[in-house]
Symmetry: C2
Subunit: 402 residues, 2 copies
């Protein structure tokens, strides 16, 4: 058979991690803190049914939902993004600068199409989101990790590494970061936008969790501080509407938007219409505020339960993040426990049967970093099951310290 | 601003053609034989409404429609492809070798991700589908045109060019070819599969029109003759179900499927779930056979009208293709008429107001080939409007010959 393209060579490892996770998610007895899926109780099934019944008719909207659409996305949904999602967060955008993507990840893929040549450097947080690293690897970019702390990406280390490595792009998840749940401080948000402008580097702000906040106050996006067009904002409807709909958007200034149009055309022409029509109606009919309150209340309780359980069942010396929103927390275990090795036992031991994601895989720099860490996702597990699962997992961890 | 990636440089021209077309499609007074969209009467709106009402519930299917799905696609839809679409066409496939894509084009994109490095050669038909050329350009491949005649791609010229250029891939649209409406003969289908095996070249068989046949007999796909796994079949639900749903599939042998999984993961994780759930039900509830008959009857009448009008209104010496299916015919005009120049007048002259796609843009080799040709799409225009539009267009063409 012919040789595969060069870009396929680097993807094997991360793809296998994900494949394994998808498998584990299907074991009905497993309590999984692994996947990042929203709760099934957070899916607006009844609202979607009502809207679908109204719009799928032989009138304009029904035809629109089934016929070819435009590359940049359904105009109504692009206006929803501008009016309902960006304006309240301090961003004045025009609908023509919004491209509707097939999920938030596709925005990252499209921006890579526009900017990344093989060998380009992308600076990422340490740790960072493994799915995006897969995309960067597919584009044969080289990822360099930037230090982070409880206030997110360290901007002094970032500036030093921009100077040293001359990257094409900086990839940052500023709010309720995946995998750690940390939030980038306001001061650093402004600084990152300024660094992008000063050093002529694209800042890719990936912000899918920002709208599910359970405590603390909203912070302006990095994009709000961008005066030169170097910051591109990618976001997703997965956490506030439905992940299976595969809807996201990317906001970029004119010149970049025109290139994103070309990349989208050559990827899949446009995003599926029926989910776009339904999602636009979901906002235009005013369902979002109450739905948003409902899901935030749901997740707040789960987060509180998860944090309480870490403090109660995990051994002394455990460090954990208290996330003000999103779906994840991050625990650093004491006593040299290897979370990658522990995972197999946690999943297979019939007295435990708990999944999480081992920390190691989130560090692009390797070298054993994060070997004692784990990402714990609380979004799709009920408080009762969180208690059961965390007690079992905590017991397993403590048994290793004896 | 930072430099765009190398791959963005080559796309400008084709993207502008498409952008222009999308614009022209929105003029309500225009009779457009330009776009390749299915008829609105061919969209199964009522069936989709019924299915949506049944499946979007808090039961398994409703949650499945809104929650994350699997990378390769909804298992039920992959089984529909195997049982309802491939088996009747002489292809025995396993569901695990089917990847559900976000439209047929995405299959082409994903296979390029898997195989195409910058500078690779792809052999294409002369003329060929402009959207796919955009994808090939995005991957920095070099397209080389292979001669075609009324039986499709010339396999002698193909073999000579495989030997001369050592391509990575051959791209072929075997049935009711876009833009010409021609169909590759059975003998050549077998030959192309054999050439792929013999010379270790990937054959990308793009077959979105094959199921809308109005006359003549079905021919086995190239993939049916593939004994080595070199042929990959990409197809689409756009013409038999709904283009706006952005659903397609790609059938490849195990080793390639595993790489397609990685490419899909890094593109957009998986295809939108609600359209997949609805489309699978459309087939499983047995709606397809009657719907299929209805759309074939609809399009047959439009094809017959279009051909009758070419023969009646176009000048003597016009050559045209009689397509046994699909959405297009192809006309070659006498007398040195430049169809690119004519198009502007055809669209803007208030006594004409007719659009088509000028032939020149479909020839990757350039050099004025196809300058006197046009693609005429009959799918989305009623027979009455076809008559009006073709009489006006024929009048304009004849006026140029006086």
């Amino acid at each position: 058979m012919p040789r595969f393209a060069q870009r396929m060579k680097t993807m094997e490892k991360s793809a296998n991690i994900i494949r394994g996770l998808f498998g584990a998610m299907n074991d009905p007895e497993l309590i999984s803190f692994g996947g990042g899926a929203p709760a099934r109780e957070a899916l607006p099934v009844d609202i979607v049914r009502e809207i679908a019944a109204d719009v799928i008719t032989t009138g304009k909207k029904g035809i629109q939902a089934l016929q070819y659409g435009s590359v940049m996305g359904l105009p109504e949904l692009r206006e929803v993004v501008v009016d309902h999602l960006l304006a309240p967060k301090g961003i004045k955008a025009k609908a023509e600068n919004i491209l509707i993507t097939s999920g938030g990840l596709e925005g990252v893929n499209l921006l890579c199409q526009v900017y990344i040549d093989p060998g380009d450097i992308i600076l990422v947080e340490s740790p960072t989101f493994v799915h995006c690293v897969e995309i960067f690897e597919m584009f044969e970019a080289k990822c360099i990790a930037v230090d982070m702390d409880d206030d997110g990406m360290n901007t002094e280390d970032l500036e030093a590494k921009i100077i040293k490595y001359k990257p094409k792009m900086v990839y940052v998840i500023p709010t309720f970061h995946n995998p750690t749940g940390r939030t980038l401080s306001l001061e650093r948000r402004q600084k990152i936008a300024e660094l992008g402008s000063k050093y002529d580097v694209i800042i890719l702000e990936d912000d899918p969790y920002r709208d599910i906040r359970y405590s603390g106050s909203d912070l302006l996006p990095i994009k709000a501080f961008d005066e030169t067009g170097h910051t591109v904002l990618a976001n997703s409807f997965s956490k506030i509407f439905s992940p299976g709909s595969r809807l996201g958007y990317i906001l970029a200034d004119d010149e970049i938007s025109a290139k994103l149009f070309n990349a989208k055309t050559a990827t899949n022409s446009h995003t599926s219409m029926l989910p776009q029509v339904i999602c636009a109606e979901f906002f235009k009919r005013g369902y979002y505020p109450a739905h948003h309150r409902m899901i935030c209340d749901l997740y707040r309780q789960r987060r509180d339960t998860m944090i309480e359980c870490i403090d109660k069942y995990f051994p002394e010396g455990t460090k954990r993040v208290f996330p003000d929103g999103g779906l994840f927390t991050w625990a650093e275990l004491p006593g040299g426990i290897n979370t990658t090795e522990l995972l197999e036992e946690a999943v297979k031991n019939p007295d435990v049967k708990v999944a999480y994601v081992a920390g190691e895989g989130f560090f692009t720099e390797g070298g054993g970093k994060g070997i004692n860490c784990m990402r714990l996702s609380f979004g799709s597990v009920t408080p009762e099951k969180i208690r059961v699962g965390m007690e079992r997992l905590g017991g397993l961890i403590r048994s290793k310290l004896k």
